[in-house]
């Protein structure tokens, strides 16, 4: 005989009574394993999505608003098995037309991708290469095909933002002809799994809309001959190694043209000029050429002395050494032609009028006065080349034909001006000091227009080589980054395994309580046997260990079966997430996947919690004395002492709850919600302690006669206090959680028209594919965009980033960045701040971190930051800058975006022109449609997509609400288990007391009266549980009710609580009916 044998004998003998316990262990294990496997499934889904969007791609270089030579990809080939592909990616809006030419279907936010055959080296092709595309032909991905209703052979149209090497916001850039229309024919709808159909370098909630066209054709159509803005890399090396070697190769093989720089050799004039199509040479370039002649040439609207004026002239700021007596300060050298025309003499003051360009292409004319210190010849070799290639100017034969990016009045042009243009082109008419020119005309794009070297044979190559050495392509963002490692690990924004354990927490607890109850019932039945073991010399510890060992076997089987059932649970959850609960994952599609290790963790977790529960139950039992156990009754603690202890605890918790409530009265956001939730929990504990003490009082409160059968029932509920309290606790916790969670349900329509609401009081949310360069709140801006009528809107600059809204499952590192004028939102007092003081904080300049505001859900769940945190964000020059989270918005339409001030935005992203996100006001809801129509019509070519702000908010709210649905559904299941637990307790109580009930029947009570007795006893527990839960939950949700969009959904809660009450009563009634079935009187004999 061994102890192991004893344990297994015992286990086998009590197998039937263990079934219920086993069931509880299985449910707990299943929920735990199932929840963890949901995490696996999300991870696997993200990996598949990453595979679909990246194929073999490991690294990529992506330039925002800059373009390099497509040939660079060929130049940096490392070996035969490492592939590089140039790609030109442009944003587009698309539509398909019906036979009559009317627009049938639309899609915005399309990725138009120019590719050559090297692109397919990165695709995991299962079959042959996709068909070669001719000009005007396109491959499209399944999502776009579905959206536009296209198939092979169909025609569709795209509207693209015409890229410009010169940023659209740059001074003197031309804001015309911003878009182009392309007509394309579908060659094939590509395969999502094998043909990189869902190619994207950014993780997203849903696959992108993709159109693949021949690279050369797209370059031609977008006037970017030979250029690309992204390069893909893949090969046999590990990604980190590939990134390193690709960047080294890039550094060795890049040319100035890849940084949009050009060395122009002019042997005739004896100069070599460094210029850029971006007009302005940036600081990095100037730093590398510090020892050379530098010039900044600009357009003067007018050069004037008294009433004599010359319109539209070039004026150059030149560095020391350009002339023998190079001007300094406010001195100027004018040309002979100008001196003659103005009748100017040395010593005269000359006024120069010029435009500067504001943030929204607002032109501001300024004036500066110079003193003439000399007159130089009208033109010398190399001077006319000082004028950069200003668009709209450089290619014009006549001055009157100029179309510069400033207000231009051709009527001011005189004949001599026209003659000058024909003879001397853009030769500057005046020269000033470079420092002065930079003070007047330097901008965020650069501080010079030309760097000049003296010509010598073969000097060009030397200069180029020296510049390539000094300049780093990474400074302009030309650098390979690892795009695969993080994506392919399937790291999600949230730990979905943990999340679903949280959501199922109450279900696990309910299963464990039920399991504990059933186990303890089984053990209580064996009380005399346990008493015998104690009597024959087993210590309490040994007996407990024997029971625990038996429980271990049970828990192990339960956990193993639970893990198996958990896989089915996961499949059910995944199916629901792909259908009913789709809102929680942005209506994406999850695949089921289970990792063996996760299942093992589930088994271990299930084993642990089941064993812990069993330990809790046997711990108490083994403390009972042998005598009591031999009599078949586990010992009850001394009533008075336990009751007093419970009352003291109740009082302390109640005082704690009140104190916490007061302390958190004026707190903000999470702190307040957390504080009140804590107060509610304390109150719940207090209520349960009161119930405990009250049951104790009932148990010892003999003496007073029963006033009714119901009162007798009440007294009965105190007989097994532990069981009664478990029922009350289970129900109270369930009600508490369901009510507390229900109150966090968001109503997107609440406060929809109010500034404090999640819409900020805005009627429409707009996004355009093509940036709008003007302030649409001004008459000029609306005029430029041909918008009829008035609009009142707040517009945001956009730097593309990861989708950081809660619709995206992927972990996001770089959310989309928006730049806004904080005053525009502050004046309107738009949105509610969950944390933080207001929009003005964006203008703060303390420290080196840029203040930012973000929606609380995005901050907490997607970015995992809190207010005060500082993060690094990549800037346009290839480096990073620091962003400090300065505030959280409560539940807003701006979810997914990081918002900084416009001033900071343009400082860090000078090339990101115009505005692409709009919050549009509508004073009168009836006028909303008219405003939407006007904007849609005027900005059709810009791919403007307008969404009612409430709908956008509803989409975001749907995520939170769906999670609440899941929680409530699982909580409902748990309550079902809870009420089953109540039923089991009733059944057990009644079965134990069949003799007593038989006696009551013997002395004349009818069976219906006995039924009522049982119902009264246990109905009381039900009501106590509900009351405790409701009271404490009301305190816990108090602050949540003041948040925008949140309020107590009384109907839902009434239904929930009513449902629990009815379910509890039903189980009680069923259990009582089952226990009282048949003849009771024979039970008397057993007494």
């Amino acid at each position: 005989m061994t102890r192991t044998r004893l344990i297994f004998n015992s286990f086998a003998h009590h197998a039937r009574s263990h079934l219920g316990t086993l069931l509880g262990a299985i449910v707990a294990g299943a929920v735990l394993t199932g929840s963890l496997v949901v995490g696996d499934s999300v991870k696997r889904t993200l990996q598949i999505q990453a595979q679909q969007r990246l194929g073999y791609i490991q690294a990529a270089t992506v330039q925002h608003d800059r373009f390099f030579r497509g040939e660079l990809a060929k130049a940096i080939e490392l070996n035969n098995r490492t592939h590089f592909a140039p790609v030109l990616m442009l944003g587009a809006a698309g539509f398909a037309e019906d036979e009559s030419g009317a627009i049938k279907t639309r899609a915005n936010q399309i990725q138009l991708i120019g590719i050559d055959k090297s692109f397919w080296n990165h695709a995991m092709l299962k079959a042959n290469l996709p068909p070669t595309m001719k000009d005007g032909e396109a491959l499209i991905n399944p999502r776009l095909a579905a959206q536009l209703g296209l198939k092979a052979g169909d025609e569709f149209r795209l509207r693209i933002a015409k890229p410009s090497v010169l940023p659209r916001d740059a001074p003197l850039s031309v804001a015309e002809d911003l878009t182009a229309r392309l007509t394309l024919t579908v060659t094939q709808v590509t395969d999502a799994d094998s043909e990189l159909a869902n190619f994207s370098l950014r993780p997203g909630a849903v696959p992108p809309f993709n159109v693949f066209v021949p690279l050369a054709w797209l370059q031609k159509k977008s006037e970017l001959d030979g250029r690309a803005n992204a390069m893909l890399a893949s090969g046999p090396s590990p990604t980190a190694e590939l990134v390193q070697s690709a960047n080294a190769a890039l550094r060795n093989n890049w040319r100035l043209a890849d940084a949009e720089l050009e060395l122009i050799e002019n042997e005739k004039d004896g100069v070599i000029d460094l210029r850029t199509d971006r007009i302005f040479l940036d600081a990095n370039t100037l730093k590398a050429t510090a020892d050379s002649q530098t010039a900044l040439t600009y357009i003067a609207n007018e050069l004037r002395i008294g009433t004599n004026a010359v319109p539209y002239s070039m004026i150059s700021g030149v560095s020391d050494g350009f002339f023998e007596n190079t001007p300094t300060g406010d001195e100027t050298l004018i040309t002979q032609w100008l001196a003659d025309d103005l009748g100017a003499m040395v010593g005269n003051k000359i006024e120069v009028d010029y435009y500067v360009l504001g943030l929204n292409r607002q032109l501001e004319e300024r004036s500066h006065t110079f003193t003439i210190t000399g007159v130089v010849p009208t033109e010398k070799p190399g001077w006319r080349e000082l004028m950069p290639n200003f668009p709209g100017i450089v290619d014009k034969d006549n001055l009157r034909d100029w179309n510069p990016g400033i207000d231009f009045e051709s009527s001011r042009i005189r004949d001599q001006d026209e003659d000058y243009w024909k003879q001397h082109r853009g030769t500057p008419k005046a020269f000033i000091a470079l420092a002065t020119a930079q003070k007047l005309w330097a901008n965020r794009y650069g501080e010079a227009t030309t760097v000049r070297y003296t010509f010598a044979n073969e000097k060009r190559a030397q200069i180029e080589s020296a510049l390539q050495e000094k300049l780093n392509p990474a400074d302009i963002g030309l650098v390979f980054r690892d795009v695969r490692t993080e994506a392919i690990t399937g790291q999600s924004a949230s730990d979905f395994g943990g999340l679903f354990i949280g959501l199922s927490f109450f279900l696990v607890i309910a299963a464990l309580i039920l399991m504990g109850l059933l186990f303890v019932f089984g053990v209580e039945q064996r009380a005399p046997q346990i008493g015998t073991l104690l009597a024959i010399g087993f210590t309490g510890k040994t007996v407990r260990n024997l029971l625990l060992a038996e429980g271990f076997v049970l828990a192990l089987i339960g956990a193993a079966l639970g893990a198996w059932a958990g896989l089915a649970y996961t499949q059910a959850i995944v199916n629901l997430l792909n259908s009913e609960w789709g809102g929680a994952i942005g209506n994406g599609s999850l695949v089921y996947h289970a990792e063996p290790l996760t299942v093992l963790y589930g088994v271990l977790g299930g084993l642990f919690v089941a064993l812990f529960t069993i330990w809790l139950t046997v711990r108490k039992l083994s403390r009972a004395t042998a005598i009591t156990l031999l009599l078949g009754e586990p010992a009850q603690p001394a009533e008075t002492k336990a009751g007093r202890k419970a009352l003291v605890t109740a009082l302390l918790c109640a005082v704690g709850a009140i104190a916490l409530g007061f302390a958190m009265k004026d707190a903000q956001g999470q702190m307040k919600a957390g504080g009140f939730f804590g107060a509610g929990m304390l109150l719940l504990i207090s209520c349960l302690c009161v119930c405990h003490a009250w049951l104790g009082k009932l148990a010892t409160g003999g003496g007073a006669a029963f006033a009714s059968l119901g009162a007798m029932g009440w007294r009965g509920s105190a007989r097994r206090r532990g069981r009664s309290l478990a029922c009350i606790g289970l129900l109270a916790c369930g009600v508490f959680l369901l009510i507390a969670v229900g109150a966090f349900r968001l109503d997107p329509n609440e406060g929809a028209n109010e500034r404090w609401g999640g819409t900020g009081g805005f009627a429409l949310f707009g996004q355009s594919d093509v940036p709008v360069l003007y302030d649409l709140n001004t008459q000029t801006g609306r005029g430029e965009m041909a918008i009829d009528g008035e609009v009142d809107l707040v517009q945001f600059r956009v730097r593309a980033g990861d989708d950081a809204s809660c619709l995206n499952l992927n972990q996001t590192r770089e959310p989309r960045l928006l730049g806004v004028n904080p005053k525009a939102l502050a004046d309107k007092e738009a949105f509610t701040f969950a944390q933080g003081t207001g929009w003005e904080v964006l203008d703060e300049t303390e420290g080196d971190a840029v203040p930012a505001i973000v929606d609380m859900n995005t901050g907490m769940w997607m970015m995992h930051v809190k207010v005060g945190d500082v993060i690094d964000y990549p800037d346009e020059s290839g480096g990073t800058f620091k962003i400090r989270i300065a505030g959280f918005l409560a539940n807003s339409v701006l979810q997914g975006d990081l918002i900084i001030s416009e001033k900071q935005f343009v400082k860090h992203f000078p090339s990101a022109s115009g505005y692409r996100v709009f919050l549009i006001d509508s004073v009168d809801p009836k006028a909303t449609a008219a405003i939407a129509n006007a904007l849609s019509f005027a900005l059709e070519d810009y791919g403007l997509e307008l969404t009612p702000a409430t709908r956008r908010l509803a989409e975001f709210s749907k995520v939170q609400n769906t999670y609440l649905d899941i929680f409530q559904a699982l909580g409902g299941l748990a309550l079902l288990l809870g009420s089953v637990g109540l039923g089991v307790v009733v059944l057990r109580n009644v079965l134990e007391r069949r003799g007593e009930l038989a006696l009551l029947q013997a002395i004349g009570f009818r069976k219906s009266a006995l039924h009522w007795l049982v119902l009264a006893e246990h109905g009381g527990l039900l009501i106590l549980g509900l009351a405790a839960g409701i009271i404490s939950a009301a305190v816990a949700v108090w602050p949540a009710l003041s948040n925008p969009g949140q309020g107590m959904p009384l109907n839902l809660l009434a239904w929930t609580v009513g449902g629990i009450l009815l379910s509890g009563l039903l189980w009680t009634w069923l259990a009582a009916a089952a226990a009282l079935r048949g003849k009771l009187l024979p039970a008397l004999r057993h007494e």
């Binding site: 004893l6 004998n9 009590h14 046997q529 073991l533 009597a535 010399g537 210590t539 004395t625």
Partner: protein
């Protein structure tokens, strides 16, 4: 240890239980003193509620006296902790209850050997002794049976053997024949007396049965918590 030292010495034993109504405590045993010699067989008799079972529980260390001392083999039981008492119960005492309290999941042989597991492992000697004792009580053919397959008398005989398996000095029996018919009860009573002599074990039995009491060497009659 000299054989003339009493195995058990009870001095001024009292046992009170708190009243349910917070009044005067209920005094079950009052100032009771007695000695039990080694190898003696004693019957404790008296009316219901006189404190017979309480006295047996105190002697068996399942309960502690409110006042007074109990010495077992000259050891003061009040000075032993719970584990020491458990070891004492296991090695020096054997219990027989009115209800046999056999483990339904174990066979006859296993039930008998259960006490050997309390503080060690079952040895071959234990198994040999179990075989011998079961043979002695006429259950040699029932070794692999479970309690549910035995008659009331057989179960009680298994309980007797279980009580003797660790060769205790003291055998405590609480109404051992209470649940048996007369013939079986007589047979069990006779067996207890024989084993008392054969195993040289001191026997204290609480009984309402005058016949069983008469088979013991000494009868102690209790009335209202005191020896009459």
């Amino acid at each position: 240890m000299p054989n003339d030292t009493p195995l058990l010495q009870l001095k001024n034993i009292s046992r009170e239980f708190p009243s349910a109504e917070a009044g005067e405590p209920l005094q079950v045993l009052r100032n009771l003193s007695m000695e039990v010699a080694r190898g003696e067989s004693i019957a404790i008799v008296g009316p219901s509620g006189c404190g017979k079972s309480t006295l047996l529980n105190l002697i068996g260390t399942l309960d502690q006296p409110t006042n007074g001392t109990i010495a077992f083999d000259v050891r003061n039981l009040g000075e032993l902790d719970a584990d020491e008492l458990a070891i004492l119960r296991n090695r020096e005492m054997g219990f027989i209850f009115q209800s046999h309290h056999l483990l339904p999941q174990c066979t006859v042989m296993e039930n008998v050997l259960v006490p050997t597991l309390a503080h060690g492992r079952t040895t071959e000697d234990d198994e040999e002794r179990a075989h011998r004792l079961l043979d002695r009580v006429g259950l040699a053919a029932r070794l692999a049976h479970r309690p549910g397959q035995l008659s009331g008398g057989e179960r009680q005989r298994v309980a007797v053997v279980r009580a003797l398996i660790n060769q205790p000095q003291l055998l405590l029996a609480d109404e051992p024949t209470g649940a048996l018919d007369q013939a079986t009860a007589d047979h069990l009573g006779q067996l207890l007396v024989e084993l008392n002599a054969e195993e040289n074990v001191t026997l204290i039995t609480v009984t309402h049965s005058e016949k069983l009491a008469a088979q013991m060497a000494r009868t102690v009659e209790l009335n209202d918590g005191q020896i009459k």
